[in-house]
Structure formats: structure tokens, C-alpha cells
């Protein structure tokens, strides 16, 4: 076990708490930087998707994991990011302009979706966000003059500062840079007043507001930020698939996105990335497994069934997600042989003041 001795306030502000963390994250970054030299074309493509989904995961983690709100409509923001990027690129704007615009537009729409969150909670909010997803999907399908309707839009590879980001490696580095920046932004937010206000809202709205947190401002801000992250991911996604159409941004996609945070571990930044990796890799594992399964099981519905089962399984057996599982395993080794079951159980809070609900 490692004991940290606190010698100054600045210590709490550090992103890395001790040398071990610097070493391991340094190694991870080195491996990620080296990946294009070691990984084949197919693997690179998977890595692109993992990074793009990680950015969505970070946005959703901010909203679901740290602010305690729910959204079953994030595919809509992915769509806004993707379509903005496609339309602006077609009008000749460079990526470093179109990307911020995609983020801002998604963010603005996220702010709008945040408004019902001021009145709705839990399941009702989920339904409102779900309806929002359907509206955006319908609009993209019907507004043919702008979006090309169901025949979709094509994108060219990104070109910036004379560099072609169409190659596997260059696009990968672009995605990696944006993912790392997103992680840093989220970590910065969480060690600042705004991030703490989000956590306060998650844990007790009533006392957050008694501490001076304006619930309306911060809830809508959380939706807006979350949507902006997703918009950035949407812009990258559009280039990754190079052809976008409304059926890529359906409810099912939204559910896949929320799966990222639930599998990864609600409330952990690591969870966003782990969850994204899992959501991308699982379909591959399923298609490998199909070769060994009898043909009547290995139908096209298998993936949806496995996804559903995994989701339910995690909610029931490992609500802390993959990252929570890792924390438990690590603690088990650190404390061996003194690990107790239930050390990570989230305790029921003492009598909550019901009259104030």
C-alpha cells in the first residue's frame, strides 16, 4: 500500500498524485504514440473508434457520472457534430474552424436539452432526452435541402496546415490529441469550482442550492458541455466513416453510447475510456465467437442480445463498472490477505430528509 504524506495544499491540485502514476501513464502514452508502428490497418481503425467513443464517454461521464443527470439522446449531439463538420467542410472551411463550430452548435443544443432537466428527474428526464433524439433524427432525415436526407452526406479527409489527416496514422494522432485534451479539460474542471458544483448537484440538490449553487445554471451547463464533447467526437466520427446518414444516429446508437459509461464505471474518468474500448471490441469478439456457434444462435440478433445481457449484468453485479472492478482487484493485491468483501459497497445514506424531497 502506498501512503501519501500531504505537505502542501498544492499537492491536492496535482493531476498525478505520485511518481508511480507518472510512470504508468507515461508508459501508456508512449505505447499509444508507438501504436501506428506496431498495429495493422484493422487495429488502427478500431483504435480510431475507441478514441472517438472515449470523447463521447467523457462527455457522458460529465453529465451522468458527475452531475447525476441522464441522457438517452446523445446520438443527437453526435449527429449535430457530424453534420456540422460535413456541411462546413463542403463549404471549404478548415477543420480548425469547423471543429469548434461543431462543438459550439452541439453545446448550444445541449443547453436546450438541459432546460427540461430543470423540471424532470430520472425516468422522466430519460424519456425527454429520448424524444429529443427522435426529433433530431427526424429533422436530419426530412431536411433534405441541408442534410441530403436519407441519401446522406460524404466527407473528404481532413486537411490542415498542409498535412493530410486521411492516413491511418495521422488521423489516429489527431484523435489521440483531441482525446487527451478532452481528458485534461475534464480533469481540470473536476478540480475547480464548476466541477465541484456538478458533483454537489449529483449528491444532493437541496444542499447544493443551500451552498449557493444555482441549479438551473449548472445543470444546463453540464448538458451543454457534455454535448460539446460529443459534438467534437461527432466531427471526428463523420471523417472516420466518411459518409453520414440519419440511420447512424438513432436511439440504438444513444443506448450504445450510454453503455460506455455504465460498463466503464459511472463516476470515473478512466471508466469513459475503458467503456469505449469495451463497446468497440465486444462486437469483434462476438463475430469471432459466431464462427464457433451453431448457425441458429449465430444470427444477426446475437450482438444486440449480448449487449443487453452485458449491460444488465453490469448494472446488477458490478455497478461500479470495469474501472470499479479494477480498483477492487488492485486493492485486493495491495491489502492481501486482508481484503474484506463489501469494502467498496456504497453505503446507504443515513436518513435523508424526506420532507425536502
Amino acid at each position: 500500500m502506498r501512503f501519501l504524506f500531504k505537505t502542501g495544499y498544492a499537492q491536492d491540485l496535482r493531476l498525478f498524485k505520485h511518481g508511480g502514476q507518472v510512470f504508468w501513464y507515461g508508459l501508456l502514452v508512449a505505447l499509444l504514440l508507438a501504436a501506428p508502428f506496431a498495429v495493422g490497418e484493422y487495429g488502427m481503425s478500431q483504435l480510431h473508434f475507441i478514441l472517438i467513443y472515449s470523447i463521447v464517454g467523457l462527455g457522458l461521464m460529465l453529465l451522468v457520472g458527475f452531475t447525476g443527470q441522464i441522457s438517452l439522446g446523445h446520438a443527437a449531439f453526435l449527429a449535430v457534430g457530424a453534420y456540422t463538420e460535413a456541411l462546413l467542410q463542403a463549404r471549404g472551411l478548415p477543420f480548425f474552424v469547423s471543429l469548434p463550430v461543431a462543438a459550439l452548435l452541439s453545446g448550444a443544443l445541449g443547453w436546450v436539452l438541459g432546460l427540461p432537466a430543470l423540471r424532470l428527474k430520472g425516468t422522466y428526464l430519460a424519456i425527454a432526452t429520448l424524444a429529443f433524439n427522435i426529433i433530431v433524427e427526424e429533422v436530419t432525415a426530412r431536411w433534405e435541402g441541408l442534410t441530403g436526407g436519407n441519401s446522406g452526406l460524404h466527407l473528404k479527409p481532413i486537411e490542415m496546415f498542409g498535412i493530410d489527416f486521411g492516413g491511418d496514422a495521422s488521423f489516429y494522432y489527431l484523435c489521440l490529441a483531441l482525446t487527451v485534451l478532452s481528458i485534461l479539460a475534464l480533469m481540470n474542471l473536476l478540480r475547480s469550482p464548476t466541477g465541484r458544483a456538478f458533483v454537489a448537484i449529483r449528491d444532493s440538490e437541496i444542499s447544493a442550492s443551500c451552498m449557493g449553487v444555482n441549479l438551473a445554471t449548472y445543470k444546463t451547463m453540464s448538458f451543454a458541455l457534455s454535448a460539446a464533447f460529443t459534438g467534437i467526437a461527432g466531427a471526428l466520427y463523420a471523417h472516420k466513416v466518411s459518409f453520414i446518414s440519419p440511420e447512424q444516429f438513432t436511439l440504438l446508437q444513444s443506448i450504445e453510447l450510454i453503455t460506455i459509461v455504465i460498463l466503464g464505471g459511472v463516476g470515473f474518468i478512466h471508466g469513459a475510456v475503458l467503456g469505449a474500448a469495451f463497446v468497440i471490441v465486444l462486437p469483434q469478439l462476438i463475430s469471432i465467437a459466431k464462427d464457433y456457434l451453431p448457425s441458429n444462435i449465430a444470427g444477426s440478433g446475437l450482438q444486440a442480445v449480448v449487449f443487453g445481457l452485458v449491460l444488465i449484468g453490469f448494472i446488477i453485479f458490478e455497478p461500479l463498472g470495469l474501472y470499479g472492478r479494477w480498483l477492487k482487484v488492485r486493492t485486493w493485491f495491495e491489502l492481501f490477505p486482508f481484503y474484506r468483501r463489501g469494502m467498496f459497497r456504497r453505503q446507504k445514506s443515513y436518513m435523508k430528509s424526506e420532507r425536502l424531497k
Binding site: 469550482p193 444532493s204 451552498m211 449557493g212 453505503q347 425536502l356
Partner: protein, 254 residues
Amino acid sequence: MSFFKVDNLGIRFGGVVAVDKVSFEVKRGECYTIIGPNGAGKTTIFNLIGLLYPATSGRIFLEDRELTGFSPHQVADLGIARTFQNIELFEHATVLQNLLIGRHRHRKTSLWQELIFTGATRRAELAQREAVEKVIDFLDLAKVRDSLVAGLPYGVRKVVELGRALATEPKLLLLDEPSSGLNPEETDDMAFWIEDIKRHLGVTVLMVEHDMNLVSRVSDRVLALNLGSAIAEGTPAEVQAHPAVIEAYLGKAA
């Protein structure tokens, strides 16, 4: 100029008149306590001061400024902090984070500065931590500063909640039953802290409390409430000896 004044305050929930035409005034620097049997309307008065419920009648003033028309989060900005009878902490955050949320009204940085964590943000954060660290020292919370609230015993949570309210640097501190659920030693510590808050930090305290020992020890004046109405006001000894108060607690002598 009066420091804090409640004038003719009232609220009804359907048929229940929870608070009925209550008026009182708290002087700067004193500890004013509201007592009364269960269901007397004490917590409801706090919720009315916090603007969590719209009052049916009456007005509330802090330093001659009327609170009506503000929203709940602005009450904190005006300098009123509170604790809850049943503890409302941020469960899945550490003690330090809980206290830092108390600093929310003193934040100075914008979202954009925070996203890239500028030098100004770092300086502001260090200043916040210094302020919080003073509260941690004052309430002797150093041992638990990095523990998650969810794992702490009840007595410690009560202190953390007091600390969070203090971290806001309030002018007026509302304490809803600070000693409930505490053992005698913890209650003793609590009494000591309340005296210190009043005397050394110069914070005015408005408290709801059942433990008459604690009340007599720390309060300057006491208001007794029964069924939503004020029945007696005065020094702790006067109020305790008041016939209407004895009757409210013990029932009419047969």
C-alpha cells in the same frame, strides 16, 4: 438597523398550519435558539428562511434587506448558511471536497479559465484550500479530510456539515439540531464549537435544539414554539420556567 428579522411569518401545508404568525429578531453576534416539541414548525422556519418554501405570509430581513424575491441559491450569497436536521452531505465526495463546495459563493474563476486551469485558477484554488484548511483545523477534521463522506460515522458527518456551512463564511449560521444523534462527548465538543463560532469567528447563530443543557450553555435568548406559534421568548432560564412552555412539553397538569 436590525441584523436579522422575521416578521409575521406563516405557512400552511393544505390544512396544516405549520408556522403561524411568528416574529422574532436576532441581534448581531448572539446565539438565538428556537425550541419546541416535535412538529412545532422549527425546521419549517429554517426552510422558509432558506426560501425552500414560499411563505404564505410574512417577511424576512437580513440587514434590512428583504429576502423575498431571491432564489434559494442567492440566500447563500447573502451570507446565510445552514445545516440540516438529517444531514445532507455530498456522499460520494471527500470531506475536503464537501468543504470546498462550501466555498462556492467565493469562486472567482470562469468556466474557460477552469477548463485550461490557468494560473489565476490555480491561485484561486490555493486560496480556497487555505480557507478550508482553517475550518479543518478549527473543527479538528484533519484525520478524515480525504475520506469519502459515505464511509464516515454519524457524529463525524455532523461536524463535516457544520464545517461545510462555516466554509461559506456566513454572517448568519442556521443549525438544525446540531446535537441530535451525538453522544455526550460529541455534544460537549459541539457546544464548545458553537461558543467559539459565536465568540471568535463572530458569526451570529440561529439554532434549533432539543438538548436543554446545550441550549442553556450556548444561547443568549430562546424562543419557544408550539404548534407553529411562538409561546415564549427570553433567556434560557426564563423560557424553561415559563408555564406555557412546561405545558407544551408535559401537557396540561391534570
